[in-house]
């Protein structure tokens, strides 16, 4: 029997782990524009991609162009990504909507910084949570993931690519400055130890292909541009052939399918980590670097005799409703600490519907939420 290969350990920055994850997932195109605190992702890509077979790195003139180039690359069949931070994320929103409408897989990493506007360029914040959900115009579902440590930066980047390909949709990975700039030991998985999903390509002859046809999963197959399947891609509301339409029944069909392809796979998409939640009276719901502080606070509360637990959100949207509801069957208090004025506690309150007391901890001063701050609130019960 062959001995299992030993995993390679590296000492990496969160941003570096994102690059490793992207390359493991099969990313061959990066287009971006520099901005703190995401720049290292771009810089490392600039060194790695040009030395790889088929790897393309492009420094674009701005974030709008970066998104355009990434979508263009994805249309040719590549796995493509960009990385940015607050102000750049805002500029990407219009083309993000285009990617949703044209069902173009891609990964957008946003390392959040303090805002609004150019705000606090190098300070941690989690102020873009609702921008990620609703930033672009129109009604649309979106997948937003997050990570709270360096290993997760790698794992969640692979997951982001897989979901993008599986559901033909842009996926946003929301990180915060603390996670991105933390350096820790991580393990690089060996080939075959992780799932790599690539979009389904059509198997029918080109004459039969309808680019936006109904399918069981709601996700139509997607051929690379230039491979013999000629079709029209547009940001306009389109019919099954991809041509613009304003006929109500065709509009509704498209909108329904775009929502359904995400809705019906909630269980696959909504990822969380549950720490001591089975019997908890007080449950902390946190994400990103704040979840690390929360984990410590929960352990300290347990040693003080309080039954505390942590629901760590790895998927922020669609909001993990089912996992929250499970906890609501016994928890009397939910504590939601975050580095914003309460962008995720809104979601929690929406699902809670008055079952438990919801206590929020909010910081927007560019400082992290500490374990002792969270512990204090847990101990209040």
């Amino acid at each position: 029997m062959p001995r299992p290969k030993k995993r390679t350990e590296i000492f990496a920055l969160g941003n570096e782990a994102v690059v490793e994850g992207a390359l493991l997932a099969g990313c061959t195109f990066f287009g971006g524009y520099p901005i703190t605190p995401s720049s290292e992702i771009m810089e490392i890509m600039a060194t790695r991609l040009p030395r790889m077979e088929d790897g393309v790195f492009m420094q674009m003139e701005d974030e709008i162009a970066s998104m355009g180039a990434v979508i263009g690359a994805s249309l040719t069949g590549r796995k493509a990504m960009t990385a940015t931070s607050g102000p750049g994320f805002s500029l990407m929103q219009e083309n993000l909507g285009y990617a949703v409408m044209a069902e173009t897989p891609m990964v957008l990493v946003n390392v959040m910084r303090g805002g609004p506007s150019t705000g606090l360029p190098t300070s941690p914040a989690q102020g873009d949570v609702q921008q990620a959900r609703w930033g672009t115009h129109g009604d649309h579902p979106i997948i937003v993931l997050s990570a709270s440590n360096v290993q997760e930066c790698l794992d969640m980047t692979i997951t982001a690519f897989n979901m993008a390909e599986k559901y033909r949709t842009p996926v946003i990975l929301l990180l915060d400055e603390v996670t991105s700039h933390t350096r820790e030991k991580i393990e690089l998985p060996n080939e075959g130890e992780y799932e790599v999903f690539s979009r389904t390509v059509p198997s029918m002859p080109p004459e039969w292909y309808k680019p936006y046809e109904e399918t069981v999963r709601g996700v139509p197959p997607m051929p690379p541009i230039g491979s013999g399947y000629r079709f029209h891609v547009t940001g306009l509301t389109h019919d099954r052939n991809g041509f613009p339409t304003q006929r109500p029944e065709e509009v509704v069909e498209l909108m329904d399918r775009i929502h359904r392809k995400i809705d019906q796979f909630f269980y696959d998409i909504q990822l969380v980590e549950e720490i001591m939640t089975e019997d908890c009276d007080v449950c902390v719901i946190a994400y990103g670097s704040v979840a690390r502080s929360a984990e410590l606070a929960v352990q300290q509360a347990r040693s003080n005799g309080v039954k505390a637990g942590l629901l760590k959100l790895m998927t922020l949207f669609p909001y993990p409703r089912r996992q929250t509801e499970k906890i609501l069957s016994h928890a009397k208090t939910l504590v939601v600490p975050e580095m914003n004025m309460g962008q995720m506690s809104r979601e929690v309150k929406r699902v809670n519907m008055g079952h438990a007391a919801v206590r929020t901890i909010n910081r927007v001063d560019g400082q992290i939420v500490t374990p002792s701050e969270i512990l204090k609130v847990i101990m209040q019960g």
Partner: protein, 283 residues
């Protein structure tokens, strides 16, 4: 010998599964530009599957829907950024960006100068009708000084962009201008642009009588074509005119033809070197 006519050539390139009629006004110059583009592609023998038409937003952007190539109708002003991603990802494709003057010069101005500077191997077509057609006739950066528009009821004060000079200054490899009145010349220019390496730009002057003509002194499409006939002159002859005779004339023809390799060529050549070094065990 086949004796198919121009129209029959065009029919081979239209989408038969698309619900016609099209959205253009009768007499709009945009259809002529599209016809010219199709005939150029046909004459060069480029297979349909190798062509990607990337369009912006505007009446000009709508052209992409009707032609049987790979077509991408993008966001307003951003056609060149999508085109850049496509060309870099698959350099074998002929990538053509179709843009309006508002599209390319105003909202997309930054992408235009950087596509030219980078010399990405895309053929850019600016359909310049001096106005925002689709949104109902507001001023564009190409609206001539003194013209009346919906947003300049008292006459345009801003200067008008000279697309050719802008592209030349930004470093475009090939820059030409034609008009839909001088169709044969435009077709020749387009063929050249499609064959040139690097970033090529063709400005096609195309009349919009509905939005521009009506508010200025051109009441009908015919008036607009007469105007094109009388203003446009070959650049060689234009250069010989004395300064005082140039004011109302518009030079057409080829302005820049540098022949530098496209960005994608340079990028992939360097990558191949890296891969060769790595194969030899170097770093």
């Amino acid at each position: 010998m086949s004796n198919i006519t121009g129209n029959e050539i065009i029919h081979q390139y239209l989408r038969h599964n698309k619900k016609f009629p099209h959205v253009l006004c009768a007499g709009c110059g945009h259809g002529i530009v599209l016809g010219t583009l199709i005939r150029s592609i046909h004459a060069l023998g480029i297979p349909k599957d190798d062509v990607v038409v990337v369009a912006g937003i505007g009446c000009s952007g709508r052209l992409a829907v009707y032609v049987d190539f790979n077509t991408v109708h993008t966001t307003h002003g951003r056609a060149l950024s999508f085109a850049t991603g496509i060309k870099m990802s698959n350099p074998k494709l002929h990538v053509i960006a179709l843009m309006g003057d508002g599209d390319a010069l105003s909202i997309g101005g930054n992408h235009l100068i950087h596509a030219a500077r980078r010399n990405i191997g895309v053929t850019a077509m600016i359909l310049n009708n001096n106005i925002y057609g689709m949104t109902g006739g507001q001023s564009s950066p190409a609206t001539p000084e003194g013209s009346t528009t919906m947003t300049n009821p008292y006459g345009q004060l801003d200067h008008s962009f000279d697309t050719v000079e802008l592209a030349r200054g930004a470093g475009a490899n090939y820059v030409a201008r034609g008009t839909v009145f001088h169709v044969n010349r435009l077709e020749k220019i387009m063929m050249e642009a499609l064959e040139r390496p690097g970033f090529s730009l063709v400005e096609a002057i195309t009349p919009c009588h509905t939005q521009f003509g009506r508010k200025n002194k051109y009441k009908s499409p015919v008036d607009m074509y007469k105007w094109l006939k009388s203003t446009a002159i070959p650049v060689e002859r234009y250069n010989e005119l004395p300064e005082n005779k140039r004011a109302d004339r518009m030079p057409i023809g080829v302005f820049v033809d540098r022949g530098k390799p496209g960005y994608e060529e340079l990028y992939y050549a360097r990558q191949e070197n890296f891969l060769k070094q790595a194969a030899k065990g170097g770093k």
